[in-house]
Symmetry: C2
Subunit: 902 residues, 2 copies
């Protein structure tokens, strides 16, 4: 622990600087920085975050030296502002504010006007000549202090509605009523003075303790309240959501008060140095004359536009600061330029004008939406403010989502209240009429209606309806449920696990928290946030091709990244979409979805029910022409680029999920009894299908399936090669756990390639490789790489087996795991670096120990997750593969990984 | 490859020796050894196994030098026996025999009498003065050679029943019929001569090729046939079963023929230097006068006892060699002594007496049963023939099974034909009346009947019937199914997965391959082999306590082993049994089985159905007194020894498998609707329960369960400590994947310990540790060991997750995996060293990197498997834990591991 407990700032110099955020918090560090830059900042000092940790480690006490240092710092503030803390004639008032390393807006406490008491108020009145102002400040102090310090920080838990603040507000209401007035501002100086007296009596009565008159007691109370609020409920749950560690702690900023509410030559405002919604290089903000900062934020008064360019239809009648106080506006504009140049990024600032003098209260990096982030980053790079690498790093990959999907009109969305919330499975916004079956979705869509398909869960047999729907909404399932996977693949808006829905299929309606929504009713979804709205909300469609800054940014990103970016796509149209988004190949084509077409599923089922190899082979071969056509479509779309095709993976019983009628038909077609058919289907039932007869275990038990699939791939390759299309199929064997499994399948695949080449008299390139998706594959990767030409980490399954978690069943405990911090996050969302990551690293390293040029990629859902992509980069993978709509995100994330790990 | 292709032996010296088995095969190496020892061996030479590999690698051709070397060796044999190969006057005849590193009895080919042709037969007649003998030898050669060399080795596949051997035998039968005789021996010299003519014509006719007259062509044909037979169907499938690698190859032994069938001063026999069934130090064997070796083995003539002591009721009228040829018997006895002394182990020998001269044809380590193995090993050590360590190594751990369980009377068993075969899930033999429900089993047993419980599968609710039954037989399930696990724990005879059974519960009968077995019918099981017999077969009960040699052997074993041996036991009586077998503690007490008693299951179900913590806690606490009693029983039985108790592990839905009546009752008891109850039960349903809400995930979601169990353990510990019983409970948290999970549970457990100690004012020792059973736990063992005081590898689950195999579902593909050599063996039987073993090693090493004295054990089924125990030893574990009846096996296997890895 450092020896210094107080960092001072003000009067053109400071102990701290902007880079000391860890110690001083964001606010404190930036106040120091501004002070050093000569920007007018009310003097003050910062008690660093270390003291917060000390406080919690030492039973809520302070280092012995702190008191002296604070007193000395206060004295220096006194001399800078030429006033004295607690001096009845010329009192200094201070604010006490929190300030963590990372902004936690509204999560911790603030106390203003510290230093006011029965004596100093007289000095304030004299100094300001404004008794009403002084008593208003005093009553605010009592209200705030009794609530924040005396009640909350003391850990007193009042009964519902009986908190001290509520009761004081009630007193104020009573007085307003007795005076026959409505607004606080109408209370007279005398009223407020009376109120402070009433407040103090009430506080004593409620909390059994007098409101302290000693300024230093007030100050220490404020400091303690800030530290205490670091572990308040709101702050803790915010940290949990944002992933902020508890040990960071908060700093405390004690600063001389300035007042924006001292008359019409006073004001307060907040501003962004550029427009945070559009990214335009325009000074953008709001201000209020004769007001305190909280008034702008609280929304009680409509703030005025900062300048003329900010004016809108709604605000053009309001006077801007530029017009009202042109001198001060110019000064503020100069500071704006200064700060952007100094920080080389858009700033979010707060200022107060006290009796014609401008004070800066805060500067920090401004938050912005995706569109703005891209525009600012590219423009700042072009202005020379930052370099291109920095521009690339300025945009969070996930911010690109906004540029890729239709969005609900944000204004309309804000007005509509969400009626339910689910998991944000597919980003974007959509609006449509509710239907409850895939067939209805198709029928209604054919009639030209926009529909949203609502189901408890979806299955592969719903795919036609899902595809045609504007969006999908399910009551069950998680982020990797069927609906979520399919929707994400298509970039379709989707919300899953929305447990508030109770669907009544018979009546074709759903009950949402008591609200009945019938088939045909309009609803709207925000899939990025997981929110469901009643009624129509218009959507906004981004135009990527016209977004020059986006195109520029992605070019820069591509220049820096080392990882290739491929896509997971099962259909030519998805592949084409991904290619348009910059995919450099396909990392995963699942062949199983191809079997669900009506003609195909019958042959598939025949194959499954077959009792001997001959019948099975006959049925399998019926699928060959379909598969060949599928592969021709995909390989042609991805000409000149590699296409990884995974052989059949899921357990066979997924294909024989039959209702009575279907069973009857199939039995008839196969010329067997329904009973026999059922017996065969029953025999396929597994207790743990995830660990059962699937993946290459199928191809080993039924080599004819592998033969058919390999032949279909190679016949497609041969046909396209003849047409002059360059193809590079990569045949991928799933769920390999032993080298012998892979070798078994590899032999069949190569034999098929040889046969097809011989039959057709043509050569083509191809590779044979495997998924690494069970721990044993990673552990024996050196063996497997002897024959495998590439690895693709299937991190969904690898996560399941490494943890022993079933994706489908973690709903029972994962939420409480996250809540209790047993896991930092859902390992199916972001790759578990500690555990699963070891196997990914080991598999890559060991694989390359036998085959140095082994091509290694990832095709699990993690391939589109920025944090996981960073790991893939560090491990030295060749590429990541993700759903088409995440391709731009993966490109940007790969560039980030390369730049951050330089 | 060595430069030498031929290793000669004979005349008191040899190129090879006994230790050269890899090169010369077992037979060749031992012939060389005997020759060097001066034991009379017909001279000859061995073509080493390397040539076999060369042969297969070079398209079935030989090294260039081989032909010359063989010719030279033949010349030396000629000079030793003073005869010439192919010499019409004085012909040398040779045999060609296979000889692999490990004995593969009957799996490869042999050709005798090579060198006989139309010319040399005259010399043989002259030499022996026995025309009949000579033509018999000739017709045997033609039969054997045309079959083995000309047909099989040439790869000719005749139609069913049309093989050359069958057709020649048919000719012989025709001749016998025409002569009106029954036995081959009645055929005259002229008949046999005529037969050789007929045979040669037939061979030409059938195979389109003449029987070769050139002796060297015959010799090379024979050599080729032996090599060829290495990859014959029988040999390949035998190797697969015995785990013999293909690359070992076979040697070929070419040796001068000696004849035991040259009159009444000739004979042949086989013998063991000690009794292989009892272990007694008695020369034990059989012989036949005027016969060839194959006659003894073939069983056409009843062989005579070797000596007077060998005579039994059935054979006392037969003359022994000791009586018939006392001189030669003395010579043989001397050789017996010589060989045992030289090889320091019991030998299995073959000899031939040709016209009064003794020749040794083979010596090898003799096979023996478990009882004999123990007795011989201990007696040989006491005789000073071997040291104690060698004695310990002489007994295969699995051989102890015979000493621990009731066995079917082997004689009676051999007579009865098995009606079905299943998986040998619980060793030993049993006989009883068939019942089909656990309740019937209990009822019938109370009436004093012996019953065998037959089910499709068993569940925890069958346990009372399983326990009382003599044996358990199921039609489904694998080696780690519920029935198998439970039976093995009790040392009960059990066969599972006997798919031939079709049980009709309504009619209370089963159909076994068309045979109807009704309730009450008697059946018998050999659980060691998995065989089911119809009817009663008497059983033999071993008396371990009276087996001095067994006791001695185990004392020696305990002296050498480094691993502790604990047991897996859930009930005091099992614990006591294991303790009697030498268990040094309990490595796994599963608490879930304790919840199935009628009073308990109700509280358990109440707990599961509870909708809030309060109700759940109330229900859980009802279980406390039961659990405490359980733990008192086990801890008391295992006083002074450590007892590892695992907290609740299985998914909750296992406890709410209700029929309609039970559901009704429970709903009534809980005062909720049946519908609501069902909804709650349905909500517990999981797609992959093995990867679902179980293990510590339960204790984290419902801490009150952990609290109750920990409290029950500690209250039991406190109570016993007060009584002066020394207890060492080790509380084990299941299915930990992250250090945070363990820490969560550990805190609760320690809190309970503190509470109980404070309440009862007494101290006791205890440990808190965890199972390592998912890969992530092994990967992050260093983190987990920061708080965990011990690790116990749950290798059942670890195997499941490392491979991604569900034990319950591998039936669909594992058999074909073994068959196709994709896996060398069932990884749930013997620990997969290559994959899972890496995690076991890593987990141990990383765990000890943070806690050097970390106690490490294994409690999966592998803890009783000798090969897996060897791995545990090498990894440096502290102990293995296995079911009670495997404790002696584990003790011996641990000693083996220590001795072999010295």
């Amino acid at each position: 622990m450092s020896k210094k407990y107080v960092y001072e700032f003000g009067g053109g110099k400071a102990d701290g600087k902007a880079t000391m955020k860890e110690l001083l918090g964001g606010k404190g560090a930036n106040l120091a920085e501004m002070a050093s830059l000569g920007i007018p900042v009310p003097p003050g000092f910062t008690i660093p975050t270390e003291v917060c940790n000390y406080y919690y480690r030492h039973d809520k006490s302070y280092p012995a030296e702190l008191e002296d240092e604070v007193r000395q710092a206060m004295e220096r503030v006194e001399s800078m502002v030429n006033a004295k803390f607690g001096d009845p004639a010329n009192p200094l008032l201070v604010s006490v504010r929190s300030g963590a390393r990372s902004s936690m807006p509204g999560m911790m406490e603030t106390v203003l006007n510290i230093g006011l008491n029965e004596k100093t108020i007289e000095g304030l009145i004299q100094k300001t000549g404004n008794e009403r102002f002084a008593y208003d400040a005093y009553r605010r102090l009592i209200m705030m202090y009794s609530d924040v310090v005396m009640e909350k920080a003391a850990g007193i838990e009042p009964q519902e509605g009986k908190g001290v603040r509520m009761q004081l507000e009630h007193e104020m209401e009573k007085m307003k009523k007795s005076r026959g007035i409505v607004n606080d501002t109408e209370l007279s100086a005398a009223d407020l003075k009376e109120l402070t007296r009433i407040f103090k009596t009430k506080v004593k009565q409620i909390l059994g303790k007098a409101f302290p008159d000693d300024p230093y007691e007030q100050l220490w109370g404020g400091i303690g309240a800030v530290f205490q609020s670091w572990n308040g409920k709101r702050a803790v749950s915010y940290r949990r959501i944002e992933g902020i560690p508890d040990v960071w702690g908060t700093a405390v900023n004690v600063q001389a008060m300035v007042f924006g509410n001292m008359g019409n030559n006073s004001a307060t405002g907040v501003a962004f140095t550029r427009n945070p919604a559009t990214g335009e290089d325009v000074f953008y903000g709001e201000w209020l004359v004769n007001a305190q900062g909280e008034d702008v934020v609280a929304g009680l008064r409509t703030p005025n536009p900062l300048n003329i360019r900010n004016k809108t239809e709604d605000t053009r009648h309001l006077e801007s600061l530029e017009e009202a106080m042109p001198e001060l506006y110019r000064e503020l504009s100069k500071i704006r330029a200064n700060l952007e140049k100094h920080y080389t990024d858009m700033q979010d600032i707060e200022f107060t004008i006290q009796e014609g003098r401008l004070w800066m209260l805060q500067t920090r990096i401004g938050k912005r939406n995706g569109t703005a982030a891209v525009k600012m980053a590219v423009e700042m790079a072009k202005e020379g403010l930052i370099d291109e690498a920095t521009a690339v790093l300025r945009v969070r990959p996930s911010q690109l989502d906004e540029l890729l999907h239709d969005m609900l009109d944000p204004v309309a969305e804000q007005k509509a209240g969400a009626i339910a919330k689910g998991l944000p499975a597919g980003p974007g916004g959509a609006t449509g009429q509710v239907v409850f079956t895939a067939d209805d979705a198709e029928k209604w869509a054919k009639e030209g209606k926009k529909v949203i398909l609502v189901r408890n869960e979806t299955s592969p047999e719903d795919v036609h309806g899902m595809h045609i729907a504007e969006a999908i909404l399910t009551s069950k399932g998680g982020m990797t449920s069927h609906a979520a996977l399919v929707a994400r693949g298509w970039g379709k808006c989707c919300i899953v696990g929305c447990s508030a829905l109770e669907i009544d299929m018979n009546k074709r309606l759903m009950n949402v928290n008591g609200r009945i929504i019938k088939e045909g009713d309009w609803i709207s979804l925000n899939g990025t946030e997981g929110r469901v709205y009643l009624g129509k909300i218009s959507t906004i469609r981004p135009d990527l091709e016209a977004n020059k800054e986006y195109i520029q940014l992605m070019q820069w990103a591509d220049r820096y990244r080392k990882l290739g970016v491929r896509t997971n796509a099962d259909r030519p149209q998805d592949a084409a979409q991904a290619r348009a988004f910059g995919a450099e190949g396909i990392g995963l084509t699942r062949t199983e979805h191809m079997f669900f077409g009506p003609e195909r599923i019958m042959a598939m089922r025949e194959m499954i029910i077959a009792e001997n190899e001959e019948d099975r082979r006959k049925a399998v071969m019926k699928l060959l022409p379909f598969q060949r056509e599928d592969f021709i479509g995909i390989l042609e779309t991805m000409h000149d680029l590699p296409v990884t095709i995974r052989l059949l993976d899921p357990p066979l019983h997924e294909f024989v999920n039959l209702n009575k009628q279907q069973a009857k038909e199939l039995a008839k077609q196969l010329d067997i009894s329904v009973q026999k058919l059922k017996a065969r289907i029953d025999s396929l039932h597994e207790l743990n299908p995830m660990l059962g007869h699937r993946g290459c275990r199928l191809g080993i038990a039924y080599p004819e399936i592998t033969e058919m699939q390999a032949r279909a791939i190679f016949e497609a390759a041969a046909e396209l090669t003849k047409k002059g299309v360059k193809v590079s199929p990569e045949v991928m064997v799933p769920l390999v756990g032993t080298a012998t499994e892979f070798e078994h399948q590899e032999k069949i695949i190569r034999r098929m390639a040889d046969e097809v080449m011989a039959e057709q008299g043509i050569k083509f390139d191809y590779l044979v490789g495997t998924m690494i998706e069970v721990p044993r594959a990673a552990l024996t990767a050196d063996e497997i790489a002897k024959t495998a030409e590439f690895f693709s980490f299937g991190t969904n399954d690898l996560t399941q087996t490494t943890f022993g978690f079933s994706r489908d069943d973690i709903g029972g405990f994962l939420p409480s795991y996250i809540e209790q911090k047993i896991l930092p996050e859902d390992p199916f969302q972001s790759l578990d670096e500690t555990g699963v990551g070891q196997l990914v690293e080991m598999g890559t390293r060991r694989g390359r120990s036998t085959r140095p040029k082994l091509k290694v990629g990832i095709c699990g859902e993690h391939g589109g997750d920025p944090r996981s992509i960073d790991l893939c980069h560090r491990v030295g993978m060749d590429y990541v593969s993700c759903s088409p709509f995440r391709v731009p995100i993966a490109r940007l994330a790969s560039a980030h990984a390369a730049l951050k790990n330089k």
